[in-house]
């Protein structure tokens, strides 16, 4: 059975799953309960500057009948007295010596304030400190949170102050509300942070109420941008995680990364690990379903690791990073075409309409007699299930015209019905980088490009 234990920058936990610094990790009672359920660690909800909160602080993005595809919040850092938080942190750590207890902190950008909070956290016996440079709402208006995270120089400066004071591991948490995630990460490396974590929440407005015409949620008639999190942000988080894992400076430093952003099940977790995370943080899924989800997170991950032959989390971590590539290094000659399995096809024609309206017009409807037919061609007096089913045409890909865009594959509601089948390459194997270096004309001039295509037998469909 796979070993799920981790040692993350010196912070040990029995599994890689930590509650992220957020409402689920607001109190000692909650974290006791989470640890009883099996969570490996928790990052205490950010403590620091005094705040007051508002009501209607969580919005949500539902899609279809799926609730909370994402959550949006304007809750600030902990509004509980700091002494209470510190006391409970100490109690939790004493009660759970094998679990990771990390404390998220955010204070004003003063060396003294940071030194003080670091010392007070260390006094609790906590295993580590996470620097909250991420909250995009409220705190940022006061020069904290993402106001720091968006300026690499500030990140570096404050982290230096912290590193001077800290004797326990320090994790610098990044905001995704930035053009290039690599820059603050490099600042963290330069300042000597022990680890990085990402992503914090994304700036967002969740919606407008179509009855009241107020923002959703409405806080006394007004609303504003809040932090966006949950399953919908996972692809954004994965991209930022991979960007760090493939950055020369960050990767070379060997700094470990705690990954988060939409992890809802063990499959998400495995993907974060494969792209370089070595600890994982979860919030929205817990806010949706409670602490009990930890059981399948561990069980599913462990079973998958066993099936794949991974023995430790460290073996999984970063395993797929070498698959991450810039476009310029992709093989331009790689060709795949869509193929529809007629035996599985239920003839919903979603592939047909997607391809013909919005992609590359290479799916035909073929009648049972093998003729290409137009949609909606049946006689108005034809009806009944037998006529509808027995005369229904079958969508078929004209493979010679298929560019392999994969839209049909994505819209098909039937598992394994449409396959992207690799076919013989058109022309020689070459990347854009090689082309632009070796045959400059091709990448700069349409006429030269045309000649190149003709030489290589590349057809634009």
């Amino acid at each position: 059975m796979a070993d799920l234990r981790i040692d993350f920058a010196g912070i040990k936990s029995p599994n890689p799953f930590w509650l992220a610094s957020a409402p689920p990790a607001n109190t000692g009672a909650q974290i006791h309960k989470a640890f009883e359920a099996g969570w490996g660690g928790a990052v205490w909800k950010t403590i620091g500057a005094p705040v007051l909160n508002v009501s209607n602080r969580y919005g949500a993005w539902h899609y279809g009948r799926q609730r909370m595809l994402a959550i949006n919040n304007v809750e600030l850092i902990s509004d509980r007295p700091i002494e209470v938080n510190l006391r409970e942190i100490a109690e939790v750590k004493r009660a759970w010596p094998d679990r990771a207890v990390i404390v998220s902190a955010m204070v004003e950008a003063q060396p003294k304030a940071w030194r003080e909070i670091v010392e007070r956290i260390e006094d609790t016996g906590a295993d580590g400190i996470e620097l909250n440079y991420g909250c995009p709402h409220g705190m940022s208006e006061r020069g904290m949170g993402s106001a720091i995270g968006q300026v690499p120089e500030y990140c570096e400066q404050i982290t230096r102050w912290v590193m001077e004071a800290a004797t326990i591991p320090v994790i610098m948490k990044l905001t995704p509300n930035i053009t290039n995630i690599v820059l603050p990460a490099r600042a963290g490396v330069a300042a000597g942070a022990n680890a990085l974590s990402l992503i914090n929440t994304i700036n967002s407005i969740v919606g407008v109420d179509l009855d009241t015409l107020e923002l959703t949620p409405s806080i006394g008639g007004k609303g504003g941008h809040g932090g966006y999190a949950g399953p919908a942000v996972k692809p954004i988080a994965l991209n930022m995680l991979a960007a760090l894992g493939t950055d020369e400076v960050v990767a070379k430093s060997g700094i470990p990364i705690s990954g988060m952003g939409g992890i809802a099940n063990w499959q998400d977790a495995a993907q974060f690990l494969l792209l370089g995370a070595s600890s994982l943080q979860v919030c929205t899924a817990v806010m949706h379903y409670g602490f009990r989800i930890i059981e399948d997170l561990c069980d599913g991950l462990s079973n998958w690791m066993d099936e794949k032959g991974f023995k430790t989390i460290a073996e999984v971590s970063g395993h797929s990073l070498h698959r991450v590539s810039d476009f310029k290094n992709l093989d331009l000659s790689f060709r795949a075409v869509a193929r529809i399995d007629a035996a599985k096809c239920i003839q919903c024609n979603l592939c047909y309409v997607a391809c013909n309206d919005t992609a590359h017009q290479c799916i035909d409807l073929v009648s049972q007699e093998g003729r290409v037919v137009a949609p909606l061609a049946y006689d108005v007096r034809s009806n009944g299930k037998h006529e509808a089913i027995e005369t229904r045409p079958q969508p078929r890909v004209r493979e010679e015209d298929c560019v392999g865009c994969r839209l049909c594959y994505n819209v098909c509601p039937v598992d394994d019905c449409i396959a992207m089948v690799e076919v013989a390459p058109e022309g020689d194997s070459v990347t854009w980088k090689e082309l632009s270096e070796q045959q400059t004309g091709v990448t700069e001039d349409w006429e030269t490009m045309k000649a190149y295509r003709e030489r290589q037998g590349i057809r634009i469909h």
């Binding site: 009948r65 919903c348 949609p375």
Partner: protein
């Protein structure tokens, strides 16, 4: 009769979907392109479109999408054999549960009723007037569609209430009379004048309507239940009357303790269900062929068996044994099946000397309806006894059209087919007017 009325055993069987249940079901719809459900629907309602409008909470738009193809969406949502039509063709049917299209349509139509959403009718008056005879689904549909096209329509109905079989002949379990009557009111609101208590051929004659209207549409349905031609037949209850009595507001039909229902079509199932639900201890359907040949839908057969209705197949009624208090038994003959007859089914051949008695205290017959008698009265050309029409629904007499069950020489008669007839005939009549106008201009 209100759905879910526990005191009424014949109240509408299925409760309306809640808004949440409707939204969940609507979201399950894949939104097929050129969807097979739409093809399978005789009126070709754009089903994925109306369903997605339920999902997006555009209920007004959803109702209008249905009305655009079918003015009697509320009736069809209840009485359509969806298993044979839209739902039977749903692409999710093979691996999953098909979308509950009928119930979603009912949800949209209930909403239209509750919010008084009427079908769109924007045409300017044409000055043409049309008489429609018979206010069953075909007549209502045709009248409503003609009104939407700007024509002045008068609908003549011989009964006291409009709606035809929807009002009188469909078991309340599936469609309460109120639904049909509300639908007729909605058609009136499109500008149709409904005149009840007027019988064509008795109170008004063909030459009257020919004189007063630019066109006439016969939507007269079929006749009474045919004679079995057996002794004691006068003691048998007519199935259509039996259903009609069961739909009355304040009274209920008399029901025996041991009831035989002769026939195995959908009407026979309805009669047997009524008898069972109104207290009969034993209800037996008597049919001369087998379950393979009977004309009721498979889902109706399943339903009947779950109701506890029994079946006697290969049994031919020969004589009713009548005493002073009424029938006490039905003498029957056993039947062998022979070569296929004109109906395409094996011919039932009664076995001589095989008489046996089925004891009973009530017999109901539901063995179809006689062909339209009006065809003979007007000397109209017929096909298998049904009124013959051309591709524009015109009879041999110019300007006289016929639609619905009275022309259904081939295929199963159904409400939704009648609605489609009404729609297509309205378009054909409208085209005819336009063509005559164009010719007049040229002339």
């Amino acid at each position: 009769m209100v759905a879910g009325d526990v005191n009424n055993p014949l109240a509408e069987q299925l409760p309306p979907l809640t808004a949440h249940a409707a939204a969940v079901e609507a979201d399950r719809c894949l939104y097929c392109f050129d969807a097979p459900c739409t093809h399978a629907c005789p009126t070709h309602i754009d089903i994925p479109r109306f369903i997605k409008k339920i999902a997006s909470e555009n209920l007004r738009g959803s109702a209008q999408t249905i009305f655009a193809s079918n003015l009697l969406g509320a009736t069809c949502a209840r009485v359509c054999p969806v298993q044979e039509l839209c739902e039977g063709a749903c692409v999710l049917g093979s691996d999953h549960k098909p979308i509950a299209i009928g119930r979603l349509q009912r949800f949209a139509m209930d909403c239209a009723r509750d919010r008084n959403i009427r079908p769109k009718a924007t045409a300017t008056p044409t000055g043409k007037s049309i008489a429609v005879v018979g206010s069953g689904p075909a007549g209502l549909s045709c009248a409503g569609e003609l009104a939407r096209l700007g024509h002045a329509v008068t609908l003549f109905e011989k009964r006291d209430m409009p709606g035809g079989l929807s009002t009188y002949g469909i078991i309340g379990l599936r469609e309460p009379a109120e639904v049909a009557l509300e639908e007729a009111q909605m058609i009136e609101s499109l500008g149709v004048t409904i005149t009840t208590g007027i019988e064509f051929g008795k109170d008004i004659a063909l030459h009257d309507v020919q004189r007063d209207f630019d066109a006439t549409v016969l939507s007269v349905g079929l006749g009474r239940t045919p004679e079995l031609g057996i002794a004691g037949e006068e003691a048998i209850v007519d199935g259509l009357n039996f259903i009609e009595a069961s739909k009355a507001k304040t009274t209920r039909p008399e029901v025996g303790r041991n009831v035989l229902v002769i026939g195995a079509g959908n009407t026979a199932i309805d009669c047997a269900t009524i008898a069972r639900r109104l207290g009969a201890e034993r209800v037996t359907i008597v049919y001369r062929r087998t379950d393979r040949e009977m004309s009721c839908y498979a889902h109706e057969y399943d339903f009947a068996r779950k109701e506890g209705i029994e079946f006697r197949f290969l049994t031919q009624p020969a004589r009713v044994i009548v005493k002073a208090e009424g029938p006490i038994g039905l003498e029957c003959l056993r039947v062998d099946l022979g070569a296929r007859d004109a109906s395409g089914r094996p011919a039932p051949i009664p076995v001589a000397g095989s008489e046996f008695l089925l004891p009973c205290d009530q017999i109901v017959k539901a063995v179809g309806q006689v062909k339209p008698e009006l065809a003979k009265v007007l000397a109209l050309e017929t096909r298998n006894g049904f009124i013959a029409v051309d591709e524009n629904f015109q009879t041999g007499i110019a300007g006289l059209y016929a639609i619905g069950d009275c022309i259904r020489a081939a295929g199963a008669a159904s409400t939704v087919m009648a609605v489609e007839d009404g729609k297509l005939a309205a378009k054909a009549i409208d085209r005819q007017f336009t063509r005559s106008a164009a010719l007049a201009e040229v002339g």
